[in-house]
Symmetry: C2
Subunit: 341 residues, 2 copies
DNA sequence: ATCCTCTTTGCATTCGAAGTCATTTCCGAT
DNA sequence: ATCGGAAATGACTTCGAATGCAAAGAGGAT
């Protein structure tokens, strides 16, 4: 004895039943009409589309997600969006996923400790997959596997757990930088590392240190945290430690390189690159500014994001695909912040 | 004669029915157990929670969204994420919304023309609301009203259509900058405008121009597009137009101010601020770098994002709330890129 | 023991679209 | 007219959780 439900008066709240009624067909027909490849007579299709337009009908993605078990949502988890390098990556990823008909559920971490809460939400929304640029511990990574949610790590690897990932090759990049610096007749080397919990940070520093060692060069290492101020602070430390003799500086990212360049010029009156060569990593926008022109390794963001999206989509279609690591070589951007060989 | 559905073997795919069976209660009980305020006996609750934990059960937000007609999703639509100012805003908004139990569906526009496609998706996902930092035309704004989807504009207003919005006060900000410059004994004023389709860009430039006019100062205006390179290019134009006599430059944002400062110093050998004063707007990170220390108006991002989120949530609860505009005063950051009065 | 109230609990329905299956329609061939 | 096969269509069920309602249980007062 149910009373017939009234269609919501607000436009755009129409359901497939409303459209069906207006077009004089069944709900199934409406559904098929919006699914390409289904069998609908041309005349029926016209009627339905006309009705849909008149009612501003848009299929409810939530209901679709429930019945098809495909939310068409992908989680993007990023630790610190303020990193200057990530906005570009995020924009690229979002646009590429959109182009594939997939929506982005964004999670930005204020602190590492928030990861578990974020994952909680990721599970609830039944995302089809995730792209992660944040540190996950092995249990957290395992949770993705357990639940069958494909994941692709961006600029980090599973560290023990096999996980698909896309990275820029820190090692070859740092080797190129170190070799160029060594050929450039430098004597006292310094390194500004990233925060200890950054995978790429540690990898870059380790690569640079070892290559220097192989080439018979010693170096002092100071830790920064990837931001501008820490580049300045680290440079001050290094100047003290080397008795102002520092003449080659390798920074784990561009932002610290820029901080160090400014500090050298302004706080110490040291000419860069004449008296001090500075190199960075990433190839962020400000690295190419006239005042800096940082010699750096530019990450191939477009290719990397393209790969990340492609790998994720593959794994959504075929969850059994094995974890693959794709390593992209960065491009040495000569710049003018360093005298190279 | 339906065969009993087998629970998905993968952990974490359990449904409320699976939990109910494991705990020996009904599905309703499970549902109530996860809804606070519902009446469940302590012992029952324990049993259910234990079963849920054992099965790694997380309520399906998609199904919840369907039945409750509340997706707990908010769309954030941003035009150019690379704007240096937006990443900070985005991170703040995302974290604030998360704290309120709301997830962010991110849409990043590659081109203005994509807006309609994005809105299409916004309708499909039945978002509870939207925060928009992109240009919407009146029809697009009207579509939100028609559908009863609350919206808050960020740093732009409805321009004809009444819409809730949060803005940083361009006018008082530019007035403060202009007044300080005028007191600083400058003679030839130039302005670098933003792209014509930027609301704040036009507003800032217009405010500056009029205040200069009121104070009896003339000025040349050149258009940029908010990025570094256009600051450089615009400065070159202005130098030509003023026969190199330019000594006060007002830029519609910090990034162009920085581009202009670098250009003045490096391309023209002009000392900033001794021979040329430059002011910007926004208060982005690089504005405070040692090399620039741009005199600018810092937008109160925390307060603005807080207000945007609060206004949106209010409107989600009470869709009938009238459109409100909230204007926040920026803070004059003295810097050292300009000689002020 | 009886009655009454308040709390717990389960049943059944609902949200909106997709998809299975059975039925109807259509069109040309005979 | 009759049949065959394909195309088109609709009835019905399903996804997973929320909720109105009725029934059952728990306690208290008498």
């Amino acid at each position: 004895m149910a009373v017939k439900r009234q269609p919501d008066v607000r436009s755009g709240r129409a359901t497939s039943y409303d459209v069906a009624r207006a077009a004089g067909v069944s709900q199934s027909a409406v559904s098929r009409c919006f699914k390409q490849g289904a069998s609908v007579a041309p005349r029926t299709r016209e009627k339905i589309l006309a009705a849909a337009r008149a009612l501003s009908y848009y299929p409810n993605a939530i209901a679709q997600g429930l019945i098809t078990r495909r939310s068409n949502l992908v989680a993007i988890i990023i630790s610190n969006l303020t990193n200057l390098y990530y906005p570009e990556v995020l924009a690229e990823l979002t646009q590429r996923l959109s182009a594939q008909g997939i929506r982005v559920l964004l999670f930005s971490l204020a602190a590492e400790s928030d990861v578990d809460e974020v994952l909680d939400q990721v599970w609830r929304y039944r995302v089809d997959g995730a792209i992660v640029a944040a540190r996950l511990n092995p249990e957290q990574l395992a949770a993705f596997a357990d639940r069958g949610v494909p994941i692709v790590l961006y600029n980090r690897i599973g560290e023990g757990v096999p996980v698909a990932s896309v990275c820029c090759d820190s090692i070859s990049g740092e080797h190129a930088l170190v070799e160029a610096l060594v050929e450039g007749e430098h004597h006292v080397f310094g390194i500004i590392a990233g925060p200890a919990d950054s995978y790429v940070g540690e990898e870059r520093v380790e690569a640079a240190r070892r290559r220097l060692e192989q080439l018979g060069r010693d170096c002092k290492i100071v830790r920064g945290n990837f931001d501008y101020a820490s580049g300045d602070a680290a440079l001050k430390d290094l100047m003290r430690m080397t008795d102002r003799k520092l003449d080659a500086l390798i920074c784990a990212n561009d932002l610290m390189a820029i901080g160090a360049i400014d500090s050298a010029r302004i706080n110490f009156g040291i000419a860069v690159p004449q008296a001090l060569s500075v190199v960075g990593f990433d190839g962020v926008g400000p690295a190419t500014w006239l005042a800096y022109q940082v010699t750096t390794i530019r990450q191939p963001v477009r290719r990397m994001t393209e790969a990340a999206v492609a790998m994720l989509l593959e794994r959504i279609e075929r969850p059994d695909l094995s974890p693959e690591q794709r390593l992209f070589a960065g491009e040495l951007l000569p710049g003018s912040s360093a005298r190279l060989g």
